[in-house]
C-alpha cells in the first residue's frame, strides 16, 4: 500500500557552486558500440548507479489506448528472455539489484543500482528487460488489474480529480492533456502487441541518454553500457508531437466531491528550457512559489493566514510545451480566500516583479543549494541525464552560477510580466464554499 521511498525530497533545482563543480569531474565516454554516456567516478563506495532515458513517453500512446507506455514499463521486469516473471525477480532479488522504470510524457526513464560484485548480472538483466520483455498473458492480466484498481481509486481522490481536469482543460486535443496511466476505458483495450510495438519504436540507441556513477573506469563503463544497450536497434521510430500552449487560462472549474478539504490546482503559461530568459523565469518563480519557507505564496497563504499546510508552484517544461503549475489544499469555508490570495500574488508579481532583495536572496539560495542536489550517486546520475535531455552541455554544472548571477532586476521584471500576465486556469476538487465554475461553459 503506502510505501515511503525517500525521506528527504531534495529540491530538484541543480545550480552550480564553484566548490562542488570542482569536486566532481564528469567524463564523456563512448562505448565500443558507439553509445555516448557521461561518467562520474566515485571510488568511495562499492556500488554502481546507472540512470538513462529514451525519447518517447506517454505521448506515444494512441488516445484510445492511453496507458500503453506505463503498462509496458510495469511489465519489463515481469519476465524477459528465457526467464519468466518469477525467475526474473529471483535473479534480481538474489543479488539485491534495483531496477526501476518510470514513464514521463516525453521520455521513459530508467535506473539501476547494484553492488560491484553483482554489476555484470545487473546489466545483463537490464538488457533482457529492454530487448526481450515477454509480456506474458498472466502478467499482463495482473498488472492491468493493479492499474485498474489505482484508476478506480483515483475517481474519488480530490488530488487526482483536480490535477486531471487541469491537464485535460489546458491541453484538450494534445497527448500532454492525457493521464499517463490511462483511463478505466483505455486500459482494458491495451494488448501485448501494443506494448511490443511501443518497445520496438522507443528502445533504440539514437536518442538514448546515459549517465553512470560509481567505482568504475571509462573502459569498464563502456563495456557495461554495451552489455545493457548495445543490442538495441540503431534508430527509434516515433510519432511526431505538435507544439502546444496551455488553453483555458482565466477559467475556474469546480469538481464536486465530498471531502473535508478542497484541493486546488492552478497554473498558466510556462517557459521553454531553451528560452534565453529561462533562468530569469526560474529565479522569479522561486520567489513566487518555489519550495522554500520564504516564497511569497508560502508567506501569504500559510504563514500569515494559516489557510493551508502547503502551497507552492513550479515551472514544468516538456519538448513541445511549458507550463507553470501549482497547488494547495484548504478548508472548504476558506477556499475562496486562499484562491484570492494566490491570484493576487500572481498578479502582483506580474505587475511589479520581485524586489532587488528578493532577487539577491533567491540567487544566493539557488547557487548554494546546488551541492545538496548532488550528494548521492542516484541524484548525480539523474541530474546528468536531465542535463543531457535539456541539451545544456557537459560544462553546465560549472556555468550555472554565472548564468544565475547574470540575471538583472530588469530581466526579472520583464520575465515576470511575460510569465504571469496571461492569467490562471484553476481547478478545484471538493466542496469549496461560494465558488462555482466560471469563465467558460463546461
Amino acid at each position: 500500500m503506502i510505501r515511503v521511498l525517500s525521506i528527504f525530497f531534495a529540491a530538484a533545482a541543480a545550480i552550480a557552486s564553484a566548490n562542488t563543480a570542482s569536486a566532481m569531474t564528469i567524463e564523456k565516454i563512448v562505448s565500443p558500440a558507439g553509445i555516448e554516456a557521461w561518467l562520474v567516478r566515485e571510488k568511495a563506495l562499492p556500488l554502481v548507479t546507472l540512470n538513462y532515458a529514451f525519447h518517447g513517453g506517454t505521448t506515444q500512446d494512441d488516445a484510445e489506448k492511453a496507458g500503453t507506455a506505463n503498462l509496458a514499463a510495469a511489465l519489463l521486469d515481469e519476465g524477459a528472455g528465457d526467464l519468466d516473471g518469477k525467475a526474473f525477480h529471483e535473479r534480481v532479488e538474489n543479488h539485491a539489484i534495483e531496477l526501476g522504470f518510470q514513464v514521463g510524457r516525453d521520455y521513459i526513464h530508467g535506473s539501476l543500482r547494484a553492488l560491484n560484485e553483482h554489476r555484470d548480472e545487473a546489466f545483463d538483466l537490464l538488457r533482457l528487460a529492454l530487448t526481450s520483455p515477454r509480456f506474458d498473458a498472466d502478467a499482463i492480466d495482473r498488472l492491468r488489474g493493479q492499474t485498474m484498481a489505482t484508476l478506480q481509486r483515483d475517481t474519488t481522490n480530490p488530488n487526482d480529480l483536480a490535477s486531471r481536469r487541469w491537464w485535460q482543460t489546458a491541453f484538450p486535443d494534445h497527448p500532454y492533456g492525457r493521464e499517463g496511466k490511462g483511463t478505466l476505458e483505455s486500459v482494458p483495450r491495451i494488448t501485448a502487441a501494443d506494448m511490443r510495438e511501443y518497445v520496438r519504436r522507443v528502445f533504440a540507441r539514437n536518442e538514448l541518454k546515459v549517465s553512470i556513477v560509481g567505482d568504475v573506469d571509462a573502459k569498464t563503463a563502456g563495456m557495461l553500457i554495451d552489455r545493457a544497450f548495445g543490442a538495441l536497434p540503431a534508430k527509434n521510430d516515433l510519432k511526431p508531437i505538435a507544439n502546444a500552449t496551455p488553453s483555458g487560462l482565466g477559467r475556474r472549474i469546480v469538481i464536486n466531491v465530498d471531502v473535508p478539504q478542497a484541493v486546488v490546482t492552478f497554473g498558466g503559461q510556462g517557459i521553454a528550457r531553451q528560452d534565453p530568459e529561462f533562468m530569469a523565469a526560474y529565479i522569479v518563480n522561486h520567489i513566487l512559489g518555489g519550495g522554500s519557507f520564504s516564497s511569497r505564496l508560502y508567506r501569504e497563504v500559510r504563514e500569515k493566514r494559516g489557510l493551508a499546510y502547503g502551497v507552492s508552484d513550479s515551472l514544468v517544461w516538456f519538448r513541445r510545451a511549458a507550463v507553470m503549475l501549482g497547488g494547495t489544499a484548504t478548508r472548504a469555508d476558506r477556499t475562496a480566500d486562499a484562491l484570492a490570495v494566490i491570484e493576487q500574488e500572481v498578479k502582483r508579481m506580474a505587475e511589479e516583479g520581485p524586489t532587488p532583495d528578493e532577487l539577491a536572496a533567491a540567487k544566493s539560495f539557488l547557487k548554494g543549494s546546488y551541492a545538496l542536489s548532488l550528494d548521492t550517486s542516484g541524484k548525480i546520475a539523474a541530474q546528468l541525464t536531465q542535463i543531457q535531455i535539456d541539451d545544456l552541455g557537459i560544462d553546465y554544472v560549472q556555468r550555472r552560477s554565472a548564468l544565475i548571477d547574470a540575471v538583472t532586476i530588469e530581466d526579472a521584471k520583464r520575465v515576470a510580466k511575460r510569465l504571469y500576465g496571461g492569467g490562471l486556469l484553476v481547478t478545484i476538487a471538493g466542496k469549496p464554499k461560494g465558488l462555482t465554475s466560471s469563465g467558460a461553459t463546461e
Binding site: 500500500m1 503506502i2 510505501r3 515511503v4 525521506i7 528527504f8 525530497f9 529540491a11 557552486s17 566548490n19 569536486a23 566515485e42 563506495l45 562499492p46 556500488l47 548507479t49 516473471g85 518469477k86 525477480h89 532479488e93 538474489n94 539485491a96 495482473r142 488489474g145 485498474m148 481509486r153 474519488t156 488530488n159 464536486n256 465530498d258 471531502v259 473535508p260 478539504q261 484541493v263 522554500s292 519557507f293 520564504s294 508560502y298 500559510r302 504563514e303 493566514r305 494559516g306 489557510l307 493551508a308 499546510y309 502547503g310 502551497v311 489544499a329 484548504t330 478548508r331 536572496a361 544566493s364 543549494s369 551541492a371 545538496l372 548532488l374 550528494d375 548521492t376 550517486s377 542516484g378
Partner: protein
C-alpha cells in the same frame, strides 16, 4: 514547514520492511560518539564526497509523551519552533538557511521530534548557533500561534481527513493499543488540536527541550574532532535540565482478544484489508527477536516473490495488492502489519481467509533456506546502499538513539541480520502472528443513503 509535509509522514505511515537500524558494515565510516558535560549526545558520521553536511537535532520526546487530552501537542510545538527567539526573531533562521542555499525541515513521531538543516560544510557552525539558541530561547505570542494551529488542522485534513486508507490506519492503531499512548495519532485528534494553546506549547517545550534530552547527529563533510569543538562552543553552553521527567508510558496488558473494525467511507472505491499485530520493537525484544521479525516481514510481504504477493496476487489471484511491514524502531511495543486489496468480485472475507492460510503455513512449516538467504542479502545490501546517502545515515542513527538503541546496535545490525536462522523466523511467526494480538480493519465503500446524499 512546507516540506515538513514529507517528514511527519514517516511517523504516521512507517517505512515498510526497511532496516530501521540498518547501516554500515566493513566499509562503513568511522562513526564517532561523544557526550558533553551538559548531557548532550553527539554522533558524527564522516562522508567527504561532497562539501555539504546534514545537521540534525533529535529530542527524546514525541506524541506518546503528551499529557492526556493534548493530542497533537508534540507536533504542534515542532511547527512553532520556527517562530523565533529573543535573539533571532520569526523567520530569521529560515532566511539565513535559505541565503546559504540550505534546506531545512522537521518531523515528529511517537518517540522523537527532530529538526535538521542541510548546508555547505563551512556553514555548520552557523546552523548550530541557531539551533542551540532555540533549544531554550523560543518565544511565542498568539498572533503566530493561532494561524499555525489552523495550519496543523489543514495538515490533518490533508493527511487523514481526505484519505480513506489513512483514516482506517488511525482507527486500527486506536483499537490495537489498549493502554499505551501509541493509540493516539501523532497529528492528534481534531477536537483536541482545536483547543491547543500557546501555554500548552510553552509548557511542553520547557518540560522536554534540553541538552540532556537531545542527540545531535552530523553526517557529511566534517571530521569528528572539529564537529565536537563546534558543538562545545554552541550547544555546550546550554545548561542541563535538572527535572527531566522519566520516559515511562503506560504499557499494554497481554492482548487476549482478536478485534476487528469496519470503516465505511463514501470515497473508498477499492476495499482494503489491513491487520496489525502487537509485537516487540528492537528496544522491547529479546536479543535477535526484532531482526527475525524484520526478516519475516521481508519474506512475507516485500516484493513480487514475497509469500503474500505470490500467494494472493499471482497464484490464487484474489488480490491486486498484498504486503507486510514491521517497524523495529519504537520505544514501546511496535506493530507488524499485513494487508491487501481484493480483486474485483472477491470479498474481503475471502481475501482474509486466503491471507490467514498463508500466515498459518509460515507458522506451521517455516520459511525455505532460499527465502531466508534472499531476504538477508537484500536487507544487508540496504546497509551498503545507505552509505551513499548522508541524510539517510543521519536519520538511521537519530532514530536508533531516540528509540532505545545504541551506536553499536546500528553498527552491528548487518551482522545480526546475517545471524538470523530459519528457526528464529518461524518462532517469531508462531509467537507473534497470533490473531489474539491483532486488530483487523476493513475499509469498505459507504453506500448508505446519507453517504449518497453527501457526495
Amino acid at each position: 514547514m512546507l516540506s515538513r509535509t514529507n517528514l511527519t509522514l514517516i511517523a504516521l505511515v512507517t517505512v515498510i520492511a526497511t532496516p530501521s537500524l540498518a547501516v554500515a558494515q566493513q566499509r562503513g565510516p568511522e562513526v564517532a560518539d561523544f557526550t558533553l558535560a551538559n548531557g548532550l549526545e553527539l554522533v558524527v558520521i564522516p562522508d567527504h564526497r561532497a562539501p555539504v553536511v546534514t545537521h540534525m537535532i533529535w529530542y527524546k520526546v514525541g506524541a506518546a509523551d503528551e499529557t492526556p487530552g493534548k493530542s497533537g501537542l508534540a507536533h504542534f510545538l515542532e511547527h512553532l519552533m520556527f517562530k523565533g527567539t529573543a535573539k533571532n526573531p520569526t523567520g530569521k533562521f529560515s532566511q539565513v538557511v535559505a541565503r546559504i542555499g540550505g534546506q531545512e525541515n522537521a518531523f515528529t513521531s511517537q518517540d522523537y521530534t527532530g529538526y535538521y538543516q542541510r548546508v555547505p560544510s563551512d556553514q555548520l557552525k552557523t546552523v548550530m548557533e541557531f539551533e542551540a539558541d532555540r533549544m531554550t530561547g523560543l518565544q511565542l505570542t498568539d498572533d503566530v500561534v493561532l494561524p499555525e494551529r489552523n495550519v496543523i488542522l489543514e495538515e490533518q485534513n490533508q493527511r487523514i481527513g481526505n484519505n480513506p486508507r489513512a483514516r482506517l490506519g488511525e482507527q486500527i492503531d486506536a483499537a490495537l493499543y489498549l493502554n499505551n499512548p501509541y493509540g493516539k495519532p501523532v497529528i492528534g485528534w481534531r477536537h483536541e488540536m482545536e483547543e491547543l494553546s500557546r501555554d500548552d506549547a510553552i509548557g511542553f517545550y520547557r518540560r522536554f527541550y534540553a541538552p540532556n534530552n537531545a542527540v545531535v547527529v552530523i553526517a557529511g563533510d566534517v571530521d569528528p574532532a572539529k564537529a565536537r569543538a563546534l558543538v562545545e562552543e554552541t550547544y555546550g553552553k546550554v545548561p542541563r535540565h535538572n527535572n527531566l521527567p522519566p520516559r515511562i508510558r503506560a504499557q499494554e496488558p497481554p492482548p487476549v482478544a482478536a478485534r476487528s473494525l469496519t470503516l465505511a467511507d463514501a470515497r473508498a472505491e477499492i476495499p482494503t484489508l489491513q491487520r496489525e499485530y502487537l509485537v516487540p520493537s528492537f528496544a522491547t525484544s529479546k536479543r535477535g527477536e526484532s531482526m527475525a521479525l524484520e526478516v519475516l516481514a521481508h519474506i512475507l510481504g516485500s516484493g513480487s516473490n514475497s509469500r503474500l504477493y505470490r500467494g494472493l496476487v499471482v497464484d490464487k489471484q484474489v488480490a491486486v495488492a498484498a504486503n507486510a511491514w514491521y517497524d523495529a524502531s519504537t520505544l514501546d511495543l511496535s506493530k507488524f502489519a499485513i494487508g491487501g486489496s481484493p480483486r474485483p468480485g472477491v470479498t474481503l472475507t475471502q481475501l482474509e481467509a486466503e491471507t490467514d492460510a498463508i500466515v498459518v503455513e509460515v507458522i506451521a512449516k517455516g520459511v525455505t533456506a532460499e527465502e531466508l538467504e534472499r531476504a538477508k542479502t537484500r536487507l544487508i545490501a540496504d546497509a551498503v546502499y545507505a552509505l551513499d546517502n548522508q541524510a539517510s545515515m543521519a536519520r538511521w542513527y537519530g532514530t536508533a538513539l531516540t528509540t532505545g538503541a545504541s551506536v553499536n546496535d546500528v553498527k552491528n545490525w548487518p551482522d545480526r541480520i546475517r545471524a538470523v536462522t530459519a528457526e528464529q523466523v518461524q518462532d517469531a511467526a508462531r509467537q507473534w502472528l497470533d490473531k489474539r494480538r491483532s486488530v483487523t480493519g476493513y475499509l469498505v465503500k459507504d453506500v448508505s443513503p446519507q453517504a449518497e446524499k453527501r457526495s
